[in-house]
């Protein structure tokens, strides 16, 4: 999966889980936790979803809660090497 597809998967999961309208995450720097879109209890489920996308476990002791701030911070923390979609650069 490329960067764009992963971002879309994350966005869809969060919106589905929270029941929020799509405009709530119109941008990838919109806050996820600050406005209660996801709770601590949702995060457990979300981490398992992220692991399924990465096909690799997340070491919870090695991450700071701030990585859940937005889709941008999630991408930087969990998918730093995701390929950029063709035609998306520049």
């Amino acid at each position: 999966m490329d960067d764009k597809q992963i971002r879309e998967q994350l966005r869809m999961w969060i919106l589905d889980r929270s029941g929020a309208s799509p405009d709530r995450l119109a941008r990838d720097d919109e806050p996820i936790l600050d406005d209660g879109l996801l709770s601590s209890l949702d995060i457990v489920e979300f981490i398992l979803f992220i692991e399924s996308l990465r096909e690799e476990e997340v070491d919870i002791e090695a991450i700071e809660p701030e990585v859940f701030n937005s889709i941008d911070t999630l991408m930087a923390a969990f998918f730093p090497d995701a390929p950029v979609a063709a035609g998306a650069a520049g």
């Binding site: 709770s39 601590s40 209890l41 399924s52 997340v58 859940f68």
Partner: protein, 288 residues
């Protein structure tokens, strides 16, 4: 019905009478063979009754039961860690009466021993403790809510754990070491549960009437979510991966949504949920 402070000296006496040494209580075999037999009662295995379960051959089912018991011991161990920490913070406080602090010494001692035995089993035979995936973010609490939430968490880990302990401690099909660990755990937990149920009911009665509708709804939503999340611990994709099942996340998702598994969760939670409804912590039985 005795109050918690009346109950505490009796529980202290029972703990002292049944004092045990975790370092000499078990004969730990050098190794266990995952595909040699049952390590968890098959009916308790997370995907029992699903299509994924039906597709497994016998040796894979045995292997799954091995990793499932290691997962069960792992998340109970992780559940006991904040429990011990929270109980310690409540000892010798002005509002924790003497007999209660005295019993908490035993409660903590027993929980510490449980962590040792679970950790020993997991590290020795599975080569790891399945890591938990929990991050705790601060949240707003009404007066007394933090205390009530803490003892709800204690009760959830202990009640659900005890449902499994009771089934496995007398199941002749499963490995005798696993049966014994479940039995030892159950004997201590019976006292912890009696104490926890009474104390939580008293704290709840003291505070819940003071909460407004919004605070009550917020708490009940959290409690139902917490119960669901606790059940999620039983469906671990890492366990399915270790058993060599494909698409562990998909297996988990399908099992969580499967009507047989849902019915099982509701049956296993019935006693706990009834308690929450009786004490007013919930107003109805949730779908789990």
């Amino acid at each position: 019905m005795a109050t918690a402070v009346e109950l505490a000296p009796r529980l202290t006496e029972a703990s002292r009478r049944k004092l045990w040494d975790v370092h000499s209580a078990f004969d730990w075999p050098e190794a266990l063979e995952p595909e040699a037999g049952w390590y968890m009662s098959p009916e308790l295995i997370s995907i029992y009754g699903t299509e994924a379960w039906d597709a497994l051959d016998e040796s894979t089912r045995y292997r799954l039961s091995f990793y499932e018991i290691a997962n069960f011991f792992s998340f109970v161990l992780y559940g006991e860690r904040p429990l011990i920490s929270g109980l310690m913070n409540r000892m010798y406080r002005k509002d924790t009466l003497g007999p209660i602090t005295e019993y908490l010494h035993h409660f903590i001692d027993e929980e510490n021993k449980h962590m040792i035995m679970f950790g020993e089993f997991c590290n020795r035979y599975a080569g790891k403790i399945y890591p938990e995936k929990k991050l705790v973010f601060p949240r707003e609490h009404a007066k007394g809510e933090e205390e009530i939430s803490f003892f709800c968490k204690v009760l959830v880990v202990e009640e659900l754990g005890d449902f499994y302990n009771l089934k496995m401690m007398s199941d002749k099909r499963i490995d005798p070491l696993v049966s014994k660990i479940n039995k030892v755990h159950h004997v201590d937990e019976a006292r912890h549960l009696a104490f926890g149920r009474e104390l939580l009911a008293e704290i709840t009665e003291r505070h819940i009437q003071e909460w407004d509708d919004e605070e009550t709804l917020r708490f009940r939503t959290w409690l139902v979510d917490y119960l669901k999340s606790s059940w999620g611990d039983f469906y671990n994709p890492a366990v399915y991966k270790d058993t060599a099942l494909e698409n562990g996340y998909g297996v988990r998702k399908a099992a969580l949504e499967h009507p047989t598994c849902r019915a099982f969760r509701e049956e296993a939670s019935a006693k706990l949920v009834d308690y929450f409804v009786d004490t007013g912590l919930l107003d109805e039985r949730p779908t789990l």
